[in-house]
Structures are given as C-alpha cells and as structure tokens.
Amino acid sequence: MSVEMSLEKDGIFKELSPLVEIQNLKKYYPIKKGILSKTVGHVKAVDGLNFSIYPGETISLVGESGCGKSTTGRAIVKLDPPTDGKVLFEGKDMATIQNKELRKIRTDMQIIFQDPYSSLNPRKRIGDLLAEPLIAHQLATKEEANKKVDRMLEIVGLTKFHKSRYPHEFSGGQRQRVGIARALMLNPKLIVCDEPVSALDVSIQAQVLNLLKDLQKEFNLTYLFIAHGLGAVKYISDRIAVMYLGKIVEIGKTEEIFKNPKHPYTKVLLSAYPIPNPHLRNRERIVVEGDVPSPANPPQGCRFHTRCPMVQAICKEKEPLLNATDHSVACHFPLN
C-alpha cells in the first residue's frame, strides 16, 4: 500500500501522510478444548487488515455482524490490543510506545459507542462525566474544565443547564450527544465512531449525523465510522472499506463504491438494502443464500466463495489479495 495518497476533498487535492496506518492487523480469540484447556483453534475476528486513515477524512468500515469492524475500531484505540500486526499513529508504533507517550496519544484518539444507554455511567452527572477526561489527563483545572464542559454542551446542541442531570434523564439521542461531547473534550485528532446512530430513531439519526459532519469541519476531525447502515455511511463518508469475515474485500471512494461496486459482496450488500422508493421494489436483487460462515472456521481460498453468485474453481483454492489502487478490491473476477 502506498504511504502517501492524493485525497480529493471539497475539490482540493491534498498530498497527505496518513494519520493512522494499519498494517496486517490481526485479532484472534482462542478456542479452548480438552482436559488441559488446550487452544485448538482461533476465532479470527480480524485477519490481516491493511489500510490507512488520512487526516480530515471520514472513512467507514462497513459489513455485517461478525465481519470484524467493531473489533478493528477497538484495536485501533487499543481497547482490545491486537494479536498481531501494527497500528501506527502519526508514524509511531502503538505497541512499542509506553506510558507517558501512550497517554498523550490516547488523548488524540477517542471513541463514541453504539449504545447510548449503557455507555454513560449512570451514577455520574453529565457535568462530571464530561470534565473527567480533562481532569484525568491533568489538562485543566476544575474551573477551566467546567468552562469547557459548558462550551461543549452548547456545541453539541444541549445547554449548560444539563450539566447537573444524570444520564437516565435524557433521551437516546441526547445521550449520544453527550457521548460525542465527551469524545471532543480532549481535542482529539481521530474519533472512532462505533455504530453511533444504529440505536437511534430515524429522525434523531439525521440530527446526529448532521452534528457529526458540522463538528468535523469545525474541529478538523478525522473519523473512522463503523456502521452497517448504508444510508448513513453514504452520507457521511469520503471513503468506504467493505469488510467480510475479518478481511477488507473492497476499499475506495464513496461515490465509486456506490456507483461501481467491484466486489460481488459489495454488490450484494448494496442490492439487499431496502430502498425507500416503492417504484423500485421489483428491481433486480441479488439475494445470497445461507448465513455468514463462522470466523472460527473461515472458508478456504476466498472467504466469500461459499455464497458468491459468481464463484469459480480458483476462488475455492486461492485467496485473492487487495490490489493496490485507489479503488481496491480483493477478488479474482472483479465486476466492471
């Protein structure tokens, strides 16, 4: 993979070096069997991921349950350290840096979680919840932290009068705003958004997505957006990486992926998505059979071959690799 890439943003070409580089990331969970609890195999949640995240962009990881997208997000912010592979943040290997430096980097990357109901400590007031990151990293005094909390609450669409309330007094959408405010408190460079709108009502989803977009412009943020809702992904992303069973099968610019999907799985995903337009209800759909195979025992060769409508002999034997272009695909017979 090339280290530098041209990123077209708002019509302006930029030559940038990546903010985050993921090299051959693997996350395996052991399966233990037998009298002595021997490890007989692994659940290969993430099995060799390679991609980069460039400053200022929004890149989405898209896929269905079990594809490893959430695991990837957590591995990047080191919530669940990877089994193998490297995560480089601004060129520094996350695995080798220690303590003080690690704490500093931790302030540069934050995460927003999916469930607004369980990701906030129910025993803390909102004001304390938000001030905590600043105080924990000793980046501000209490008064300064308080001021910043006030400002952040306004920015995310709440008011400073909400400071003294507890999470259960807010709706799901409001809690997610609090989650976003918390992520912003440390002025991070990267925010991993792990399914931030999936648990919200449709009209609230739109509000939160708009907010995320505005904040990105205002604070020059980089987003790693993890989701399975294609509509939200299309609206917010610059680039998309489609994942299947722990691997990236296609990666490229959003427009490209939607207009010219190259991987059969991407095409399946796009055609499966219900379109809110009844005139298109009888459009040609590719409906694949069966369930996703278990990540403990992924198929030989191309992982998608067991469900691929275009499977050939070679697909069962040889695993295709991601080719190194702007719109990359891992397939022996890419479409278009």
Partner: protein, 340 residues
C-alpha cells in the same frame, strides 16, 4: 371491493401506571383486505407496537382497550372472553416479534415448540403434527428440516430463528399475520432474505400482513398501504406509492427527507426534524406535531386537526390543518359515497 378481513375503528389503548392513566394509542382506524399488506410506520413511542398488542389483546396486566372496536371477519375482538381470544391467537391471528434470538424458548426443541402450537389449534396427533412442522420448516427455506426440528434454538442463527418464527406463525394458516419489526435485528443480507420469503409466502396465501417498522425502506418494499403514526395518532394514511410520491403530512415529509438516499448523489445536508417526540406529560394541546412543524399556524397550536381525506382521494387521509381547504370537498364526497 371484497370484504375486509380486519377493521380497526377508533382504537384507543391506555395503561395504568403509578402516575395515573397513560394513553399510548390515541386513535387508530384502518381496514385490511385478505392478502393485503399494511405498513405501520413511526418512531419509538408512537404507539405502533401497542396497536398490534391491542389487536392480539396481549396488553398485560396494566393495559386495556379504552375505546374503539377491532373486527376480524365479523368477530368483535374487544368483546371476546380471554378463553375465546386464546383460540384466536396463533390461529386466526399470528404474531412475530423483533428479537429472533430471544423469542424462542431456549430449553425446548424447535419441534416441541412448533408441535405445541399445531396440536393446540389444529388437533393433529403428535406424529402428524411433527411431520407438518417439518413441512412448514421446509417451506420457509430451512435446510435439513428433519434434523433441525430436533435442535434447540441456540443452534440456529438469527435469520434461521426468524424463519422458524415465520413457519410457526403461518402453521395454522392465519387470516392475519402481525410482524413487529421482524427484520430490524437482522443483518441487511439476511433481512433481504426474510423479506423475499415473506413476499413469496404472501403471494401463495390470502394472509393479510400488518408490518410494523420504523424503516421506510422496508415499508417501500413490502406494503400495499401505509399508515404513519406519531405520538399515538395516525397522521397520514395512503397507499404506498402515493405516500412516497406525494406525502402530505409535514411529519411524513420530514421522515422521508431525513433518510439518506442511496440512489442520489451525495447530499450536503440531511434534513432533520428539529426537536424530539414530546413526552405524554408535555403533549401539546392542539396538533401534536406542531412544536416541530415548519408550517405551524395559529390554528395548529390551539385546535386538534381531524383525520380527513384530501385531493378527492378517499384512500389518502391526513391529520393536518394545512389541508383544511380540501376538507369540505372530502366530506361531501364521503357522504355521497355512503348513499350509493
């Protein structure tokens, strides 16, 4: 125009709580014909699930139908005794729920749970019931059905379990199938499989379907007609094409506009309905939506708009003062039709 299989008229459902009576469904009216699919769309708290539970009379200890009637092919469901209602459940009306992972009892086999239902309503003996259950599983596309029938639910994936639920629900050939967010918890490719399955099963039988969801995409795929609910009321009602082509109620329009679309080019800004659904304590006096409506007028704040036909279309109704001008014509039209 055939006979309606289901007629819900001015249904009002409430719950007894510590804080007094809470009315979840303010007023719902709709009709369903055999083989028709109605989509009930709305966000959390709008009362769509409570509507379906009212039809099944599964409101629990604290819920009750305050007003209105529910008529299933001539049978008035609100007046049935509990014993009579039990004969209807699973038999004439079936229901499938959102969470396939928890909707099946984990300590009984699939076969046990299906046979229990089949024997209860169809009176078959154990052997016949079991082979019928296998048939139903095959019909919903479950591979190796004779083996699966003796398996426990945890051996199946979410999509498979939902198929089992559908098989169970259709076993007794119900007149009405209520599907409450049946695909929300499933992956998108599995969702597509399940929706295709439901479409194919629908074309084979006369079962009417009540599809409850917040996903307008699913509505567009499945429904023949749609009712949009907000804060316990029906705010718009139309056939599916009309609803998407010419939505009239500002809430409907807002919902449709706030969905990011796949087919169009990238949008700069997504429309979002400001504010959030008012709680029951804060329910506005006039139109329930007026606090969030971009076209609010004086009348909206003070008076409750009735649910009326517009544009001379008896099937397209809206609860909104903006269409008052159409009101007179619409009512006149209705009157005339009755005398014919």
């Amino acid at each position: 125009m055939g006979q309606n299989i289901l007629e819900v008229d001015k249904l009002q459902t409430a719950f007894r709580t510590d804080k007094g009576e809470v009315v979840s469904v303010e007023e719902v009216t709709f009709q369903l014909q055999p083989g028709e699919t109605i989509g009930i769309v709305g966000e959390s708290g709008c009362g769509k699930s409570v509507t379906s539970l009212s039809i099944m009379r599964l409101l629990g200890k604290h819920g009750y139908i305050k007003k209105g009637s529910i008529n299933l092919s001539g049978k008035e469901l609100t007046k049935l005794t509990e014993a009579e209602m039990r004969k209807v459940r699973g038999n004439e009306i079936s229901m499938i729920f959102q969470e396939p992972m928890t909707s099946l009892n984990p300590v009984f086999t699939i076969g046990n749970q299906m046979v229990e239902l089949i024997r209860l309503h169809m009176g078959l003996n154990a052997k016949k019931a079991k082979s019928y259950a296998v048939e139903m599983l095959e019909k919903v596309g479950i591979p190796r059905a004779e083996v699966i029938i003796d398996e426990y639910p945890h051996a199946l994936s979410g999509g498979m379990r939902q198929r089992v639920m559908i098989a169970m629900a259709l076993s007794c050939k119900p007149k009405l199938l209520i599907a409450d967010e049946p695909t929300t918890a499933l992956d998108v490719t599995i969702q597509a499989q399940i929706l295709e399955l439901m479409k194919s099963l629908k074309s084979e039988s006369e079962t009417a379907i009540m599809m409850i969801t917040h996903d307008l995409g699913v509505i567009a795929e499945m429904a023949d007609k749609v009712i949009v609910m907000y804060a316990g009321q029906v705010v718009e009602e139309a056939d599916v094409f009309t609803l998407f082509d010419e939505p009239k109620h500002p809430y409907t329009k807002g919902l449709i506009d706030s969905i990011p679309h796949l087919e169009y080019d990238s949008q700069e800004k997504l429309y979002s309905i400001p504010g959030s659904v008012p709680t029951l304590q804060q329910m506005p006096k006039g139109c329930r939506f007026h606090t969030r409506c971009p076209h609010v007028t004086e009348k909206c704040i003070s008076d409750k708009p009735p649910h009326i036909c517009i544009d001379n279309k008896p099937d397209h109704k809206v609860r909104c003062w903006l269409y008052e001008a159409n009101q007179q014509e619409g009512m006149y039209k209705e009157e005339r039709e009755v005398h014919v």
